[in-house]
């Protein structure tokens, strides 16, 4: 066997191809073989065959189609050999062999559909949310179990179990490998968008740990967001809105933390460091989402982020527009966190007392009591009202609740600064 180590160029090409193509090939193999594990085995076999044959026979004209048909052939071959020990596998092999795909079945459109099928299956509502996230990152994005565990500060065996159980669920519940019909699409798209947003949030604002931003997860989420916008048959307004939102938040990535890894709040960020290309791309996406006439929560959040992005300085922020967008968001997607952000915007427009009354009302309802940002926002408003003692208590409350190192350091700085008069505020 010719080892690719003797062909460094080819090995590099194969590694590049694996990164680029393995998820597409897998998505198609799952459709052709009807099983995740069988498809994963077939994928490995196909790449092993490429390593062996390409140095000898040359790289095929269409590597992706070659990998798909080789993987499929190898899987059937494997099942036949195993049939000696399990007759059922022989029947399965015969059935798969009969369903030999037409070469036309490997056309671009169908392959693109396979990627969508994979995303919708990984985010199927029958799977628990944390399994949807793990499945999407591993099967669609190609992250390893260990990488997912590291990103979510979880033990690898926990993530591995979620994936094993999710695959068993897909098999046992016979979850079909398909793109939902146009009628089902809005409902089925909702968990997909939520998974993408969750992956981004974990990358952009980790709940715990020592990083302000985990860039790799944020990048994966943006890649997924683009994939949805590109692949969905009709431009789905909320998919456009979500991608716009991710791009707008991501545009501020470089300005959100100091070189020392400390948080920088929106009003204090150096706006020259915001990524204008991403902001411009988001504006175009928002225009497309807005023209649909169906404006959902992601589009509204993106519109709020755009209002910040468009302000040349923090002082020039159009708080009235932002408050009105929050009113619409609170109606479209009522949640105490939205109300909290709305309260902060109201404080900026109408003064700290108005915002404080709203936050206190949320807390009085027994909501967000353990959410550190609620107490941090409350502390900021109390400080601006000159109620230093109350502000100190609220900062300390927030500090006790957060496990995120940069957030802790930020709150400790705020506590130290309490005796000094400071100016305006905003959201992180």
């Amino acid at each position: 066997m010719t080892h690719p180590a003797h062909h460094p160029e080819l090995r590099e090409r194969l590694e590049g191809l694996y990164r680029l193509e393995s998820r597409r090939v897998l998505a198609t193999l799952i459709r052709l073989l009807g099983d995740f594990d069988l498809a994963e085995e077939a994928l490995q076999d196909a790449f092993a065959a490429a390593i062996e044959q390409w140095p000898r026979d040359g790289v095929p004209a269409n590597p992706r189609a070659w990998l798909v048909s080789t993987g499929r052939f190898k899987a059937i071959d494997r099942l036949r050999r195993r049939a000696r020990f399990d007759a059922m596998l022989g029947q399965l092999a015969a059935r798969l062999d009969d369903q030999a795909p037409d070469p036309a079945e490997l056309d671009e459109e169908l392959l693109a559909d396979d990627r969508l099928r994979l995303i919708f299956t990984c985010c199927h509502p029958a799977l628990p949310p944390d399994a949807q996230v793990a499945m999407t990152l591993r099967e669609v994005c190609g992250l390893t179990t260990e990488e997912i565990a590291r990103a979510f500060l979880t033990a690898p065996p926990t993530v591995a179990q979620r994936i094993v159980r999710a695959k068993a669920r897909i098999r046992d519940a016979r979850i079909p490998y398909e793109v939902p019909s146009p009628a089902e699409l809005p409902d089925r798209l909702e968990p997909v968008l939520r998974v993408v947003y969750l992956i981004f949030t974990e990358g952009y604002a980790p709940a715990a740990g020592d990083a302000v931003v985990r860039a790799d997860l944020a990048d994966e989420a943006i890649r997924l967001g683009r994939l949805l916008v590109d692949l969905l048959p009709e431009p789905e307004p909320e998919a456009l809105g979500l991608l716009a939102l991710l791009l707008l938040q991501n545009a501020r990535r470089a300005a959100r933390a100091t070189a020392e890894g400390d948080l920088v709040l929106l009003p204090d960020q150096d706006r020259d460091r915001w990524d204008r290309d991403q902001i411009a791309e988001a504006a175009e996406l928002l225009r497309r989402a807005g023209s649909s006439g169906r404006v959902g929560p992601y589009t509204l959040q993106a519109a709020i982020a755009a209002a910040h992005a468009e302000a040349p300085t923090a002082e020039a922020t159009d708080w009235d527009r932002i408050v009105r967008l929050y009113d619409r968001l609170a109606r479209a997607d009522p949640s105490p966190v939205v109300e909290l952000n709305q309260a902060v915007a109201v404080a900026m427009r109408d003064g700290p007392a108005a915002g404080l009354a709203r936050i206190d009302a949320i807390l009085a309802r027994g909501q967000l009591g353990t959410y550190p940002l609620a107490h941090a926002a409350r502390a900021d408003l109390l400080r601006r009202l000159g109620r230093t003692g109350d502000a100190r208590a609220a900062y300390q409350r927030a500090l006790a609740l957060t496990g995120h190192e940069p957030q802790r350091r930020f709150l400790q700085r705020r506590l130290r600064d309490l005796d000094r008069p400071v100016g305006g505020d905003g959201q992180p």
């Binding site: 594990d37 994963e40 085995e41 490995q44 076999d45 092993a48 494997r78 050999r81 195993r82 000696r84 020990f85 591993r138 390893t144 179990t145 260990e146 990488e147 690898p156 065996p157 993530v159 591995a160 994936i163 094993v164």
Partner: protein
């Protein structure tokens, strides 16, 4: 990543298994090993002699002692191992699940620490 798949099984049950079943199990295991070798996953695999053949070695205060039998009595005994190369833990689990031994005993999947890499990272 390298993973060590340790197979534990009840020796008493295995010893009571009819010979044709044992032969079939060995046959299937050999076939699985061939497949794993062909796909590049298998680095090393060995089956172990029965647990009664164990010698336990300790060095305490510079003195070596060797005693008969395993360190601890358990219901299931270590019967063999597969050292495999896999992309990640879930691939290792998928491979472990394919081992015929997983049907008669249990397979413990343990990631191998790359001491060289861990060392140079410090």
């Amino acid at each position: 990543m390298k993973y060590l798949c340790l197979v534990y099984a009840d020796e008493a049950k295995l010893n009571a298994m009819p010979q044709d079943q044992v032969d079939a199990l060995i046959d299937e295991t050999m076939a699985t090993n061939e497949e794993l070798a062909a796909s590049g996953h298998l680095l090393l695999t060995e089956a172990l002699e029965q647990v009664a053949s164990t010698t336990t070695v300790r060095v305490r205060d510079g003195r070596l002692s060797a005693t008969d039998g395993p360190f601890a009595e358990t219901n299931e005994q270590l019967g063999g191992f597969w050292l495999i190369e896999a992309r990640d833990l879930n691939e290792a689990i998928r491979i472990a699940g394919r081992l015929p031994s997983a049907r008669v005993g249990t397979v413990e999947v343990r990631p191998v620490i790359n001491l060289l890499r861990e060392h140079s990272a410090r």
